[in-house]
């Protein structure tokens, strides 16, 4: 069971990361370097969620062969880079995954 307290703490953290800069910051406090490095946060953190969910199975061991998720993710990436469309990325990945599962099993 999820503890309500954790949810509330997570809510507070989310709020305060948004609030702190608006409330405290004078623009000079952030130099361009910090700004630039912070702009890489999505590229640094999202792969840590993406890669294990694609390459590892439920037990945490690596699956390279016979892994429809890898192919589906590659298709989704290609579609995404070409179309620049969030929805097209998600659904091309999901549908190609479903197609592969459907025909293999």
């Amino acid at each position: 069971m999820v503890d309500w307290l954790i949810i509330i703490y997570c809510g507070l953290i989310t709020f305060f990361t948004r609030f702190s800069m608006i409330a405290l910051l004078k623009k000079e406090m952030f130099n361009n370097r910090i700004r630039e490095v912070l702009s890489y946060v999505p590229s640094a953190i999202f792969p840590a969620i993406i890669f294990p969910a694609i390459f590892l199975d439920n037990t945490g061991s690596m699956v390279i062969m016979d892994n429809p998720k890898i192919i589906a993710a590659v298709i989704a990436t290609i579609i995404g880079v070409i179309s620049k469309n969030i929805l097209a990325t998600i659904f091309s990945g999901l549908f190609s995954y479903w197609l592969m599962i459907f025909f293999n099993y």
Binding site: I6, G11, S43, I50, F51, L56
Partner: protein
């Protein structure tokens, strides 16, 4: 009045996917809805689910949510110059509503407009996101009790985050950061204790970004 609608469309599947996954992973409807209202941040909520289902401790969940949210420091820093004259009340309200999509639409508007009440644009964008997020979470909760687990909807988690990264695949530094972070997370998943792989990989990725941007700066300077 508000030009958020095109950017709102991606919020819809996120909300539904979150609702469906939460129910699939065994959360009840109240906690799922509560998360959308209290946390109100798609990436935070989905990483919460991911780590919770992997059996991570509260501390790891909290710090990972904090790490995911660190990008908001940037939004706040960028917006603060437009909002510095506002009363504390409005700063609090706007902070709660400051999600990626609201930032994206309002940032351009705030830069161009000279209107004293231009912050209202941000409020409208954020509030619209909020309403859509709550409705789609609710739809997801209902769907989650109907959709069979076998559909493999958990695969939607990496796909939604992948979708947020598609523009970064065009830039070399971003691609290198993505590879480093993803590699460490995959190989560190079992090795790094306490399921701290998200934070460790993110820090390693940021470190690489720091080094690379510094190298480029030197070359150009």
């Amino acid at each position: 009045m508000f030009n958020v609608s095109p950017l709102m469309i991606p919020v819809v599947p996120f909300g539904i996917i979150f609702g469906v996954l939460a129910i699939d992973l065994g959360l009840n409807a109240y906690t799922t809805m509560g998360m959308s209202i209290i946390i109100f941040g798609g990436a935070s909520q989905i990483i919460f689910l991911q780590l919770f289902s992997a059996g991570a401790s509260s501390l790891i969940i909290l710090s990972s949510v904090g790490a995911v949210n660190s990008r908001h420091l940037l939004y706040g820093a960028v917006l603060s110059e437009h909002l510095s004259d506002l009363r504390l009340f409005w700063k609090i309200i706007l902070s709660y509503f400051l999600v990626d999509q609201a930032f994206a639409v309002s940032h351009d508007y705030l830069k161009k407009s000279k209107d004293k009440n231009r912050y209202f644009h941000l409020f409208g964008a954020g509030a619209t996101c909020w309403i859509i997020w709550q409705i789609t979470t609710f739809l997801g909760i209902i769907l989650g009790s109907i959709v069979p687990d076998k559909l493999g909807l958990t695969f939607a988690i990496p796909l939604t985050f992948l979708a947020l990264l598609v523009n970064d695949f065009r830039k070399l530094i971003n691609v290198l950061v993505i590879i480093v972070s993803g590699f460490i997370a995959t190989y560190g998943y079992e090795i790094i204790p306490f399921k701290a792989y998200v934070i460790v990989s993110a820090l390693a990725g940021l470190f690489v970004a720091y080094i690379l941007t510094k190298l480029i700066e030197k070359k150009n300077g």
